[in-house]
């Protein structure tokens, strides 16, 4: 026994000795972290390939770029509002009294070699990060990727978008330039408007009166520690869930709701996704090399008694900015107290309600459909006309308000009156989303009809044939099986019914009003006018069975 044991051990040892260094390192790690178990499940994991699946990657990679450059910036930035006289190399500011935060931002831009580049990469990266999150969210919305089991990941992603907005806000406030200080002034005014506790909140956040000396050190802590810390945790959760639940895919040959078709993590996806990180970083670097962003040296240090026109936030806060700009002035004075409705309505009612509706959408839709199954095959947006129309209405509304948020610039560049633009946005606020909804829905229904035609009659080939009796007809080519499957293989929901008003004994049934709302929503989504019935197998067979039909 002892001999055989020692033999085996020897054999094992000699095996190990022969193993390449990489394997030996892996063995060592496996003995402590059991990495082979983890790798077994992930190394050859399949990822479907589609460009729109990479929008989230753009967001993820720009987030990493922002973290890398942000760490570099903290080494040179001084988060202090103590006032100093500037003596750096930017001549037009020499001798000007400014905060240390602003002075150190000038130093990063002019005296630290490469500092300007890193600053610009950081800021461009932030703008692209938020834009990428936005379009990623649109992709997920319009393809129905938020359906079970991915509702929670939708909420995580949504939270990341909101946190990204606030991280951006705290970040662009840090240089303490005239524009960002005006943004802080806005924030202060908005907090003051909070009913009952507004003045206390403002005093506590700013450490006293505006501007005080506390807000930049505090925002610095939020910007570099608190918010990115939470975001990092959420990003990890978000990506882990994508990994764990496996990615969705579009319908296609071989792709079913029970499988995932694509290339394995090792090597193709690693090379593509890893390479894509470098491409994203590279594009941002080239942009930062050639396009100025936030040139704080021309904007000047913040002083509460100065302002510049074109006072705007970064684009991702253009939506609340637009809401505030189009709101007419309205203050209610009751019993010695003031309700600042012109700020409460846009910032404390409309904005949170809109955000909440976005977060809750997956739950609302699954309540309307009553569908509790998992969905891994993506919807074609045209096949869910009402959802697509809701989404487009929201996007159009968002862009109307972005125009509102930059109304002064549109006025300048288009030579229009700022008051006319504001009025246009005020009316557009109500009209544009409704029109967009109607138009989008009609387009979707039209596309559904076209799909139906195509399935039943084949594709128009453009070839005109003359029949023996002289008639000219266009030859329709039959679709491939994959095309038939993509165009008609999906399922269609049928609208809910309330059921008979009376039961079998003629007694009036009580119907829950919530249920009534659900039924009417369901009818709006899937009833007549909500979708075009897709061709049934019977219809298809009937038309294709007799040969020689056109």
């Amino acid at each position: 026994m002892s001999i055989s044991t020692s033999n085996r051990t020897e054999a094992e040892t000699s095996d190990r000795r022969k193993a390449p260094a990489g394997e030996r390192v892996a063995d060592w790690a496996d003995g402590r972290l059991s990495i082979y178990g983890a790798a077994k499940a992930t190394m050859r994991k399949i990822f479907p390939d589609h460009w729109s699946f990479m929008l989230g990657e753009v967001a993820l990679y720009s987030f990493i770029v922002i973290i890398l450059t942000g760490v570099y910036l903290t080494m040179f930035f001084t988060p202090s509002m103590a006032e100093v006289e500037y003596h750096g190399s930017y001549v037009p500011m020499q001798g000007v009294v400014m905060s240390e935060a602003y002075a150190s931002t000038l130093d990063i831009s002019f005296d630290v070699r490469g500092g300007l580049l890193i600053r610009q990469i950081h800021h461009w990266g932030a703008l692209i990060f938020l834009a990428a999150m936005f379009v990623h969210m649109m992709r997920v919305f319009f393809t129905g990727a938020f359906r079970k089991p991915r509702e929670l990941n939708w909420v995580f992603g949504f939270t990341l978008l909101v946190l990204g907005m606030f991280t951006g806000l705290t970040g662009y406030s840090l240089p303490d330039d005239l524009l960002s200080g005006t943004g802080l002034r806005f924030l202060h005014g908005a907090i003051l408007a909070t009913p009952v506790i507004g003045t206390y909140l403002a005093m506590f956040l700013f450490g006293g009166e505006f501007p005080g000396t506390e807000i930049i050190p505090r925002f610095f802590a939020f910007h570099i520690l608190l918010l990115p810390g939470i975001m990092l945790a959420l990003v990890v959760t978000h990506v882990t869930l994508v990994f764990y639940q496996k990615h969705t895919q579009f319908a296609g040959a071989g792709k079913t709701n029970k499988n995932v078709v694509g290339t394995p993590l090792l090597p193709v996806y690693t090379a593509k996704a890893g390479g894509f990180f470098f491409l994203v970083f590279g594009v941002i670097s080239v942009i930062a090399a050639t396009f100025t962003i936030n040139p704080v040296w021309t904007i000047g240090p913040y002083r509460p008694d100065q302002v510049s026109t074109n006072a705007q936030p970064d684009w991702y806060l253009g939506f609340p900015e637009g809401l505030v700009r189009i709101m007419p002035g309205w203050e209610i004075n009751v019993l010695g107290h003031t309700l600042v409705m012109d700020l409460i309505i846009p910032l404390m009612v409309v904005f949170p309600v809109v955000l909440g509706a976005i977060a809750a959408y997956p739950f609302i839709e699954s309540w309307v459909t009553g569908d509790k199954r998992e969905h891994h095959i993506l919807d074609r947006p045209r096949n869910v006309p009402t959802r697509t129309a809701f989404g487009m209405a929201w996007v159009s509304w968002y862009f109307v308000l972005l125009i509102g948020g930059g109304n002064d610039l549109w006025a300048t560049y288009l030579h229009l009156s700022i008051n006319s633009i504001t009025w246009f946005v005020r009316i557009g606020f109500f009209v544009v989303p409704i029109l967009t909804f109607i138009v989008t829905k009609r387009i979707c229904l039209g596309l559904q009809r076209a799909d139906r035609e195509k399935v039943l009659h084949g594709r128009e080939s453009g070839i005109i044939k003359r029949l023996p009796h002289g008639e000219f007809v266009e030859v329709h080519e039959p679709l491939s099986q994959e095309e038939l499957h993509v165009l008609a293989g999906h399922e269609q929901y049928q609208p809910l019914e309330i059921g008979p008003e009376t039961d079998e004994h003629g007694v009036v049934r009580k119907v829950n009003p919530v249920e009534r709302v659900r039924v009417s929503l369901s009818k709006g989504y899937y009833g007549e006018g909500g979708q075009i019935p897709k061709p049934t197998a019977e219809e298809y067979r009937e038309l294709t069975s007799g040969h020689g039909h056109h």
Binding site: W51, W124, L179, P295, G300
Partner: protein, 270 residues
């Protein structure tokens, strides 16, 4: 300045100074102090210039501004606006106005500089007002850029944007882009407050301060201005930056993603 003192000995100078002294009584004297130079300056242009200016005025200006510059419902009175105002309005082509509107835009001047000077001489003769500044006054040499920047942000940036790119005002009016505007005209605009713009007389922004402002503006907004970070995208702040990030930034990302995810070319089946 030597030339100026020589002009003070012009026969008309005494009359002008007298007129001025009568008009600007008490404290108003201080407010109109630069007019002292103005009148002396104008006086050097002979009465002939005033006469010719009057003829030009009658043809090109009187229909709106009235005979003798007294103003009509179509145009304000020009009594006391000074030569600087005429030099600015006519020299930048804003006057004569092409059509009524929220604001007369800058356009190709209709009059030569000589004719403008004659018109200015005539209008200056109607009442005391700021004179056309001399090159010494507005040239950026020896100016304090930092002071100019601070003053620009206090007095100008609210309408003209932090580097003078311009901005919108109410009801279609606007503060124009100051890029490429002649130094003299910037100086005159501050002196006279054309159209919607308020004036900044020397009592509020001193002559030295005006020189600093002009110098600062030329440093940050001209063809020669440095934009270390790269192309400045209009210099109007976050809106153009956001638009760029969406169109070009995200556009480049999506183009790249399409390439990464696209199927590679398949071999032709033989």
């Amino acid at each position: 300045m030597k030339k100026l003192s020589a002009r003070r000995r012009h026969p008309l100078a005494a009359l002008v100074v007298l007129l001025f002294a009568l008009a600007a009584t008490g404290g108003l004297y201080t407010a109109f102090a630069p007019a002292d130079e103005a009148k002396a300056n104008q006086a050097s242009s002979s009465s002939l210039a005033i006469k010719e200016g009057k003829e030009l005025y009658a043809v090109g200006c009187a229909s709106c501004h009235g005979t003798g510059g007294k103003g009509t419902t179509d145009g304000p009175s020009l009594v006391g606006v000074g030569a600087a105002a005429v030099d600015f309005q006519v020299g930048t082509g804003r006057m004569p106005a092409a059509q009524p509107g929220a604001q007369a835009p800058k356009k190709k001047p209709k009059y030569t500089q000589a004719e403008t000077d004659q018109l200015a001489a005539y209008v200056a003769s109607l009442g005391p007002g700021p004179s056309v500044p001399t090159k010494d006054q507005y040239s950026p040499n020896g100016a304090d850029l930092a002071n100019g920047g601070e003053l620009f942000r206090t007095n100008c940036a609210q309408c003209h944007n932090f580097t003078g790119e311009g901005g919108a005002l109410t009801e279609g009016k606007y503060a124009p882009d100051l890029g490429g505007v002649d130094e003299k005209h910037i100086y005159e605009a501050m002196q006279t407050g054309p159209q919607a713009m308020p004036s900044f007389p020397d009592t509020l922004v001193t002559a030295k301060d005006k020189k600093d402002i002009v110098a600062y503006l030329k440093t940050v907004n001209s063809d020669e201005a440095h934009t270390p970070g790269g192309y400045k995208l209009g210099g109007t702040g976050p809106v153009s930056e956001g638009l760029f990030a969406w169109v070009f930034g995200l556009g480049a990302m999506i183009a790249t993603a399409v390439w990464v995810a696209a199927r590679s070319t398949k071999a032709k089946k033989s």
